[in-house]
């Protein structure tokens, strides 16, 4: 549908996200205050913090999903590979192909498994059936779902278990071959075994992608991420390598949160 615009050569590996004094407003209410945060390519960044701290708002700022809500605005810049995501010439449809997203509550379409995964490539103009078959298979393999569904691709996706549907949503995002994968509390409605599968998957996927995950589960953040950012009341309190963050946080509020004294 859209031909990829040649991107300017950038000094950073593809998939690097950088926020510079990024603020976000819902109408009059300011939700994010001057955030500076760099999310390196081929690594997992986890956002933690109590409910309403702005971590989901920030995550949704990366693929501009917040723009769906009327009356929102931002200031500052958000860069993907050095390009301003909010620039006038940035095509938001194309941006969302480069930045995939998985939501808290799995949201498979009421279509077949195949059609779910093929949706992105189809609307973005993937033509031939054989090509589509390959894309679907490869996306399902990358999401570690292929062996479970290869014999029932034409059946409804809604017949899958919650964990399988969530991995299907990951496969659906991967079918667009994105540089970045955003996950908004992907495991909060899943049982521990399904959660473990998703975490293993993220570990595999970070070899190829930038992964940003919002989680309420601190153990999960500690297990899957390389870098952790702690949000509080719309501000970024602390960001550090995950190991250091969980063993020797610099800020008192971070320590209080990760030791369970509030939040």
């Amino acid at each position: 549908m859209t031909t990829p615009v040649p991107r300017p050569p950038s000094p950073v590996p593809p998939g690097t996200i950088e926020a510079r004094t990024f603020s976000f407003y819902y109408g009059e209410k300011q939700a994010l205050f001057d955030l500076d945060l760099s999310m390196p390519a081929r690594s997992v960044t986890a956002f933690i913090g109590p409910s309403g701290c702005g971590k989901s708002t920030f995550l949704r700022g990366i693929n501009r999903m917040n723009a769906l809500i009327p009356g929102t605005r931002h200031s500052g810049t958000m860069l993907l590979d050095g390009e301003d995501l909010y620039a006038r010439e940035m095509d938001v449809v194309q941006l969302r192909q480069r930045v995939g997203m998985v939501f808290q509550r799995w949201n498979a379409f009421p279509k077949s498994i195949y059609d779910n995964v093929a949706y992105g490539p189809r609307i973005n103009g993937a033509a031939a059936r054989t090509e589509l078959d390959e894309i679907v298979e490869s996306a399902l393999r990358r999401a570690a779902l292929w062996d479970e569904v290869k014999d029932r691709l034409t059946q409804s996706a809604l017949g899958l278990s919650g964990g399988q549907q969530q991995r299907l949503c990951i496969a659906r995002a991967l079918a667009n071959d994105p540089e970045v994968l955003l996950l908004d509390e992907p495991c909060s409605a899943l049982d521990p075994i399904a959660t473990l599968k998703i975490e293993e998957l993220l570990y595999e996927l970070k070899a190829e992608l930038t992964i940003v995950i919002v989680t309420h589960n601190l153990q999960q953040a500690a297990r899957v991420s390389d870098q952790t950012a702690f949000f509080y009341l719309g501000r970024l309190v602390e960001v550090d390598a995950t190991e250091r963050m969980f063993t020797s946080p610099r800020e008192e509020r971070t320590e209080a949160y990760i030791t369970g004294r509030f939040g």
């Binding site: 693929n63 769906l68 009421p110």
Partner: protein
Amino acid sequence: MSQPTHGAVVEPAAPGGRSTTAQADDAIAGSSRGDGVYRFLTTAAAWAIPLLLGLITLEVVLAAWPAFETFGLSFLTSSEWDEVRGVFGAAPMIYGTVVSSVLALVLATPLALGVAIFLSEFAPSWLRTPVAFLVDLLAAIPSVVYGLWGIFVLLPFLRETVMPFLAGTLGLGNTPFFSGPAYGPSMLAAAVILAIMILPYISAVSREVLMAVPRSQREAAMALGATKWEMIRDAVIPYARSGIVGGIILGLGRALGETMAVTMLIGNRHEISSSLFAPGYTLASVIANEFAEATGALHTSALMACGAVLLGVTLLVNAIARWLVWQVAREGR
């Protein structure tokens, strides 16, 4: 009336065969006497409706029986309706009822869906409520007012502008559907007025189901790089599909039974014509027109038979439509 009904439904559920949830409910609710009264009232109300429908059907069929007995199947297939000779065939009315309603659906559905999609997806919120209110207001206008408006505004407009345009400018006058003189009162006029009358029903139901599509479905499509139109086409409408079909059925039900406005505009002629410019008749119209002046028992019975057929057509159409909704819903899930 409700006493045996009550026993038949409640008793099997009361001793022994109760589910654990029912027992748990009782444990929470405490007072079982209040529950018993409540259950009795709701069960009685639920059974009253099929009972009423059954009684009405029985009464109509009994009254229609002489006509069915006299004419047999030819009541459904014959076009002859002669009070003097006492010969009655309802084929033109059956044809007129079905054709005018289906044509009304064809005209109203795209428009109603357009309104619903605009209101649920595109309209700014300050515009949404007033426009939705105005569309809903269409349903509040009395049928006879539609009829009057039809006679004084719609018929001249159809006769002088639309019919010459269809027959002449578009050159459709040679096809059997748009041939013949343009009087005004016609199947087309009835279908147009019906379309306007059922539009609010289809539109209101569609709007509700479109707005009820979960945000997660919209976000799923948007996050994969769908444009707004692709999101509506691929995520919103399929999710709302069975509800939209339900709204269309509701509209069809209204169109089949509508009497006053159609009687004033359809021309009331006992004849089947392929041309939409020609006058026609509907089952509801013939009853309204002739019942007060029915001559003789057979004539009255024939009109009751028209009522029975209308009931049958309505039930049949609704059954088909239900089945369609079920198919659509199953296909999607």
